[in-house]
Symmetry: C2
Subunit: 402 residues, 2 copies
């Protein structure tokens, strides 16, 4: 069989708990095909590739690869670079120099865009480069695919956090506001709804960027829940917007910036400020607490969705399989073949044009949002098989003595 | 066999991931003894007891109890009340009214103190009340006991957080400061050391309240690590103290209070402010991020130490067994019978005087602290069997292509 040349794989953007399943999927599938010569990895994505920081993935043992598949965070290293046209020229030159003819890049919509630009350059130069975007993002905001590898596991972490926090809130009642990742899309925050299993369980209120809300409204919503249960758990996206369409964190931060130096990124500023605002409206003596779930959402080890892990491997393998079908390119997507119950749930990998996935994002659809503070059962149906089983918990019957 | 009367059990203070194991241990052991008539639970600790909010634990099915044993947070509800002498009089009256002769109270040193006061009242009144303090605290700061139920599981969560965060930090290098619970004692923060498994793994620096440090020193420490690895992961207790012996969060908050309303409790304020201070000293363009691990340390479901779960049940059962030995009282402790390896590790429950555990706390011993920014191997030896197995993770060999 004629040699096609070398394959290279890279990881881009924020890590996920299962991102290395795609890496291992690519390597294990590539090992099966004699057409593929070198199986390369770029260190820290295209940033590393431009300085020819390339490693030989054939030198890794299968045992170690399987261990890495179960390890969170990008084992090859990642980068945040959104390459410009001239960067893509450089990337193309390095590919040509190293006889790379299959290019697999794992990331979000910016990664798909990089793949798309590179693909156009190769085509213009008449150089056969089979370019594949392999999806991943805990934000779940890529177009075309039913869902994104990485989201199911991050959602598993978020749902568990709310299972624990709602039990904590029953134990020591008060108001608890937890901030969930997702700057623009509410998919991850919406997953908090999976924590509800008993009457009175939180999250009682769920705020996503797609449904603007004022702090006054939020305070009113919280008061209503608190008056009913004597406690309230709130899931709040870091990207929630106020009724002027402005990101709330931004307006709040502005206020703080004029006084001090508190920052938003990766910190508790939004939560702290919501606590202040809610206390100012509902009373300073109320027990109001906040947590920002933070990086653990994308890198906590040992807490994953097995479905998500399998699918992350599937899309990696699929990219290599597609690359063997001819001089084609594209973005791998997950197609849902139906199945509401976890037992019937079935997906397969398909290929769509890169430009269909590049640049743009996919918001949480309006039909998954109830009012501006809750998530629908249709979302639960969509999410449950992807997120997987959650640990069971119980409540006491609380039967009074005679 | 002569009836002794009723037993009551209650939970106090912050929850732990395994606190309900002690509840279930008490109930299952009490069910074995015909001397015990009612098996009661107080809702929300002594606060509920004073208003006679008492439930019948015999009405709970064993299946549901076993489910609750695996559920984090205090199933009976908790309280923060440190009862005054007159409250203890009221508690005593309720016990007498309901023919309660065995009183088991699960909590930290304040809980032991409540038990101690109540015990003295009952003795003065010539009323037979067998009073037991059952230990629990994720802070691990109780005297007499080798370690506290709840700590091992919280430490498992903390160690996993740092395993994930150090991988994340390798993937997208920078400085990451994670704030760990523990207002006065560094036990939980110290457990972050268990995350180190490969050369270059974080946490590279560990700051505990017992070893004061200035922010200037901290910045210097961080710079040194950053210059070596190009990245740095810091574990920092929420209770770290500056070289004047002042809690650092307090001094930092004061600074913010004069401008705005940012609070410390349960929030990201300390982390945010450390980020600002470090950037101010090392350069504003550095990628410095922070997370405050938050309530998930004490209530994340499904991530526990099995040893911790077993011991939490053991101390519950032990309290009831001791109560059957005569008119005695005390605080149950865990005695470590030796065993460095997990296989040899063995503990048993013993009873000590309530007053030996009441009021006071136990700091992280000096011999476990290296300089003022690291934790010793002796601590690892102490902690490993209690915290249990951590999920394995791997790194690529990163062998360059020819």
């Amino acid at each position: 069989m004629a040699k096609l040349g070398n394959l290279i794989f890279g990881q881009s953007g924020g890590p996920t708990p299962v991102i290395n399943q795609s890496l291992v999927g690519v390597v294990l599938e590539a090992l099966k095909h004699d057409e593929i010569d070198g199986i390369y990895g770029m260190r820290h994505g295209v940033e590393g590739l431009m300085r020819e920081d390339i490693i030989d993935l054939r030198k890794e043992s299968i045992d170690n690869l399987e261990l890495i598949a179960r390890s969170p965070s990008s084992a090859l290293g990642s980068c945040r670079l959104k390459p410009k046209e001239e960067d893509c020229e450089k990337i193309f030159e390095v590919c040509k120099k190293h006889n790379i003819h299959i290019f697999c890049y794992n990331g979000g919509n910016d990664t798909a865009e990089t793949a798309n630009i590179l693909n156009n350059i190769a085509r213009d130069r008449n150089y056969e480069l089979r370019v594949f975007h392999i999806p991943k993002t805990i934000d779940n905001d890529l177009r075309e695919t039913d869902h994104c590898p990485g989201w199911g596991s991050a959602a598993q972490y978020v749902a568990r956090s709310f299972i624990g926090n709602t039990l904590d809130n029953r134990s020591l009642p008060g108001i608890k506001i937890d901030i969930v990742m997702g700057r623009h899309a509410g998919w991850l925050t919406a997953a908090s709804v999976l924590a509800r299993r008993h009457e009175g369980d939180g999250p009682h209120l769920i705020y996503v960027p797609e449904a603007p809300v004022s702090i006054d409204q939020m305070a009113e919503d919280i008061k209503k829940v608190y008056d009913t249960y004597g406690r309230c758990v709130v899931a709040c996206s870091e990207g929630i917007t106020n009724t002027d369409g402005e990101i709330m964190a931004k307006s709040l931060i502005k206020e703080v910036d004029s006084h001090g130096n508190v920052q938003l990124s990766g910190s508790g500023a939004l939560g702290d400020l919501l606590v202040s605002e809610i206390k100012a409206r509902l009373g300073g003596n109320l027990r109001v607490r906040t947590d920002t779930l933070g990086y653990n959402q994308r890198c906590f080890p040992g807490v994953i969705s097995e479905t998500d892990a399998q699918e992350a491997r599937m899309v990696g393998k699929a990219a290599v399989k597609f690359s063997m079908m001819g001089n084609i390119d594209g973005s791998v997507i997950i197609d849902r073949l139906g199945g509401i119950d976890a037992e019937e749930y079935k997906t397969e990998a398909k290929l769509v044009e890169l430009k269909k996935v590049a640049k743009f994002t996919k918001d949480l659809p309006k039909e998954y949002i109830i009012g501006n503070n809750d998530i629908s059962d249709d979302f639960i149906t969509y999410a449950r098989p992807i997120v997987g089983e959650l640990p069971p918990t119980g409540l006491l019957g609380n039967i009074k003595i005679d």
